[in-house]
């Protein structure tokens, strides 16, 4: 208990520090400084390979450009359709409300955004008995993805589904580590199967914290770590033998799916990741394991 209190105190002071840089950085940031920031490079992981940092984002980009068209089909096959239920669960935890401003990061194909929208519509209509209210018109969902191919897939699907973009959906190509949204502008932030692919997880978390309003909720759905003995062995065989082969047969791309399964194993486990979320300043951090930890939903509040 005392330990937890101490940790909370520590995370409070971290919060203060985290907020400072963006304010201090303010007035004139010379172009040279911005350019120099890109020149820094350290080693990072790409699956099990060690690569230079800028190389990782390029390689991840290649993976997603390569699989964009068969992305949904592969998700269905690999998760036996379960990814749909996981995303439903994520959105039900978000508890979307009419008038909310929501940011979905790494959600280019619109899977999460459409669910949030549907949910808001059903909530709004139940409350207002079918009449479109002013608050409902204020609803806005921003979909941010670093990969233009994924965004194009999502935009196309939005048209097919009859969502008019002007009203409540916006598509932005952007980097989770350097978001282009105002401080304290969002009620909710979701990232589904995306944070594993960013180069600096802690930067993505602190950006999530920055863009959320006080009271805003952070939710992350990610493939995680299985700790149930026999199930773990089955899952390992499935990931390392079945998934890459499936990728080769369906998407014609074995390597991208080899990367996928390796990157899952490299990702911090549930407890460690929860700690990272806390370190970014979030409070009431908790997680829920689904299917024995194949995926986990982490949640935190900006208070």
């Amino acid at each position: 208990m005392a330990l937890r209190a101490a940790r909370r105190l520590a995370s409070c002071s971290r919060q203060g520090r985290l907020l400072l840089p963006s304010q201090a950085q303010a007035p004139c940031n010379p172009p040279a400084a911005a350019a120099a920031a890109f020149l820094h490079s350290h080693a990072t992981s790409f699956g099990y390979k060690q690569v230079r940092e800028e190389e990782k984002s390029r390689l991840v980009g290649n993976v997603f450009s390569s699989v964009a068209s068969s992305y949904d089909l592969m998700n269905d096959l690999m998760s036996v359709g379960l990814h749909r239920l996981w995303k439903d669960r994520l959105v039900s935890k978000l508890n979307p409300f009419p008038g909310m401003k929501h940011l979905d990061v790494a959600g280019g194909t619109g899977d999460v955004a459409f669910r949030v929208l549907e949910r808001i519509k059903s909530v709004g209509h139940r409350a207002m008995q079918g009449t479109l209210t002013a608050t409902e018109e204020d609803t806005h969902i921003y979909v941010c993805d670093i990969n233009p191919n994924m965004l194009n897939v999502g935009k196309k699907r939005a048209v097919e589904r009859g969502y008019s973009e002007e009203h409540c959906l916006s598509w932005i190509q952007g980097d989770a580590e350097a978001l282009s949204f105002e401080d304290g502008s969002m009620d909710g932030y979701t990232i589904a199967f995306g944070i594993r692919n960013v180069t600096h997880i802690e930067k993505a978390l602190s950006e999530a914290y920055r863009v959320l309003k006080r009271g805003g909720r952070f939710l992350c759905l990610e493939l995680s770590h299985v700790d149930v003995p026999v199930f773990k062995q089955i899952y390992d065989v499935y990931s390392f033998s079945v998934v890459p082969t499936m990728g080769e047969l369906v998407a014609g791309d074995r390597q991208s799916y080899q990367y996928l399964v390796e990157s899952i194993r490299r990702f911090p486990n549930q407890e460690k990741f929860a700690q990272m979320i806390q370190e970014a300043g979030f409070e009431r951090v908790e997680y829920e394991n689904l299917v024995g930890g194949v995926v986990a939903i982490h949640s935190g509040l900006k208070l």
Binding site: S22, Q25, A26, P27, C28, N29, P30, P31, A34, A35, F38, E54, S57, K101, H140, Y142, I146, P148, L151, N152, K155, E165, E166, C168, S170, W171, I172, Q173, G174, D175, A178, L179, S180, F181, E182, D183, S185, M186
Partner: protein
């Protein structure tokens, strides 16, 4: 925050290529977190704070830092002057 919205939408009425209001209201430069300005001539979003311009491709603003282009000083200056005139009028 208001400034971004005003600057982006001031060019909006006529063009049709503009950035929708709801989007303009929350967008900032990914590097400086300062307001962006829509440059009609180049169809891009300009961050005057760091002198970087970001493209808009098929209506999707591309605000990935590494895809930003450093602005030529003279070009930036003149654009900034004309835009200030526009939005005050």
């Amino acid at each position: 925050m208001r400034r971004t919205a005003a600057l982006l939408s001031s060019h909006g009425g006529a063009g049709g290529r503009s950035i929708p209001q709801a989007l303009a209201a929350v967008l900032v430069c990914p590097l400086s977190k300062k307001p962006l300005r829509y440059c009609e001539a180049s169809g891009s979003l300009v961050s005057d704070a760091v002198g970087v311009s970001f493209p808009v491709v098929d209506g999707i603003p591309c605000l990935v830092p590494k895809d930003g282009r450093l602005l030529d000083d003279h070009q930036e200056k003149s654009e900034q002057d004309s835009s200030t005139g526009d939005s005050s009028g």
